[in-house]
Symmetry: C2
Subunit: 106 residues, 2 copies
DNA sequence: ATAACATATGTACAGTTGTACATATATTAT
DNA sequence: ATAATATATGTACAACTGTACATATGTTAT
């Protein structure tokens, strides 16, 4: 087992790791992230794609920005959000394994 | 962009993915998982390592077992829990990226 | 059988979280 | 200026979740 992963070393990091996964664990935020996997997108476009109130999207984007999950740049009236590259990679890595969880082969 | 990751294809999977991350997003469960990264362990041992009531650990183990995160085998009075291998790998993959989230270099 | 220990289950309650309403602010067009 | 559009913020409330207490069940030793 990799030394750096041992429990005593991870203990202090757990709140941070937990916060990270908490943000991942919400359907609205995941929908936003999957949209932003494809391209950066304005709040309006995101709202059009997702069945939630615009203010809900806005609140979630604020939270996601504060935690470094997304970046934003204004272009005139529009504000475009994009997904952090490391978050993209974590999602990809997770999906590669996810179907197998709970299916130990033999 | 990988075709299989496009939003329309992921949309139906989102509740499942969200459920997965929800389980990851709790400090007690993460502590249990990090302990089990090292070795399989009985409920008593887990309880000794974590500052929570035995019944709390037991409730969480039940949830984690139902969702395929852990396996259990009884040895006499003791029940040993072990961590699903895919969950192990997902945790490792995540940690590899996690420190970088929100730190886009340049 | 009974005691001692290990683990599980029922329940209730406090704390957290996601949501939408109402409203505010920012930008562009007229 | 004012209107129209895009996005953000304040607030309140229902729903969900983690926890520990009390208690039950399962296992081993005597």
């Amino acid at each position: 087992m990799e030394e750096f992963l041992r429990y005593e070393h991870m203990k202090d990091e757990i709140p941070k790791i937990s916060d990270f996964y908490k943000i991942m664990g919400d359907e609205t935020r995941l929908e936003i992230m999957f949209l932003l996997m494809e391209a950066e997108m304005s709040v309006g476009e995101i709202t059009k794609n997702i069945n939630r109130d615009q203010t809900t999207i806005s609140h979630q984007l604020r939270l996601m920005k504060k935690s470094g999950f997304v970046l934003s740049t204004r272009h005139g009236k529009y504000i475009f959000y994009s997904l952090d590259d490391h978050v993209k990679n974590i999602i990809k890595d997770t999906l590669r394994h996810l179907n197998e969880v709970g299916n130990e082969e033999k």
